[in-house]
Point group: C2
Chain length 167, copies 2
């Protein structure tokens, strides 16, 4: 499997830990998870959409979607495409009115806030699974409980303390 | 002067007060100010651009501008166009590639974060000056000092406690 292969993915969990959030992305049809620390504002933007909140005024990512719609650009997919120096990278793929395709570099937090609003597919590059801390989906109820406890007590450093780039 | 007349404006000051921000907008060529309470995230987004910060990764409003650029949409102007029920309203005016003009409804905080990045003109509708709490530019050094103290000690309620809609 090439490092550039893409695996379809979706959001597995989103949790606030003190003043940050952890969003965990899961591969569809496989056991692997990708834990990503994001800001509380961006976490809130993802949560608001996932829980169907309808704020009285457009929040920042809602405005972003309205602007894109007005500009007749369609978000086709989001790709979390790399992890370098403890930083995840993502790309937002759009199609313009004339059919032209453009790709915009983004933090994964914004990309996920866009993905849940655009209801578009989300992909994670194989290289990201290879570089990120190993984390597998909990299966039994006990495992789910222990996973949740583990997330609650984690600090950003914990995710990366054992991180070694694999070949 | 009609309520719909637009006055060219610019940002006069931006201050954090506990966990919110006050951005004060001034009319150009006149003494009036418009004080607007905004979220700390949006305040940070305005401040980052005003102070020339270059974050290592695109922050949310930077991403918004990159997406618009990719979609070949140009932000022409921002208009703070109404104040209803203690909520300010704004509009972002854009021109699309084919020359079509579109207007997107926005909170003023996002609109200002866009304006400082697009370096586009900012306008305030006359009706907003008429409805907002009366606040004039400080002129002497003492007035500036007292204005800063006043801002520091204000709560959102203070701006609106004397607010009566004028005819």
């Amino acid at each position: 499997m090439s490092k550039n292969d893409l695996k379809e993915a979706k959001i597995f969990s989103l949790a606030q830990v003190v003043d940050r959030c952890i969003v965990v992305v899961e591969e569809i049809g496989g056991p692997r998870l990708v834990p990503i620390w994001i800001g509380i504002f961006e976490g809130g933007a993802i949560a608001a959409e996932l829980t169907g909140q309808e704020p009285p005024r457009p929040m920042t990512h809602d405005l972003m979607m309205r602007m894109l719609k007005s500009a007749q650009a369609v978000v086709e997919k989001i790709v979390i495409n790399d992890l370098r120096d403890n930083t995840y990278f993502a790309a937002i793929h759009m199609t313009l009115l004339g059919g032209e395709k453009v790709v915009v570099d983004s933090r994964p937090s914004d990309a996920l806030a866009v993905a849940v609003r655009a209801r578009c597919p989300l992909y994670v590059a194989e290289v990201v699974f290879q570089k990120c801390p190993e984390l597998l989906k909990p299966i039994s109820e006990d495992e789910v409980k222990s996973f949740k406890e583990q997330l609650k007590n984690m600090k950003p450093e914990d995710f990366f303390k054992d991180l070694k780039e694999k070949p």
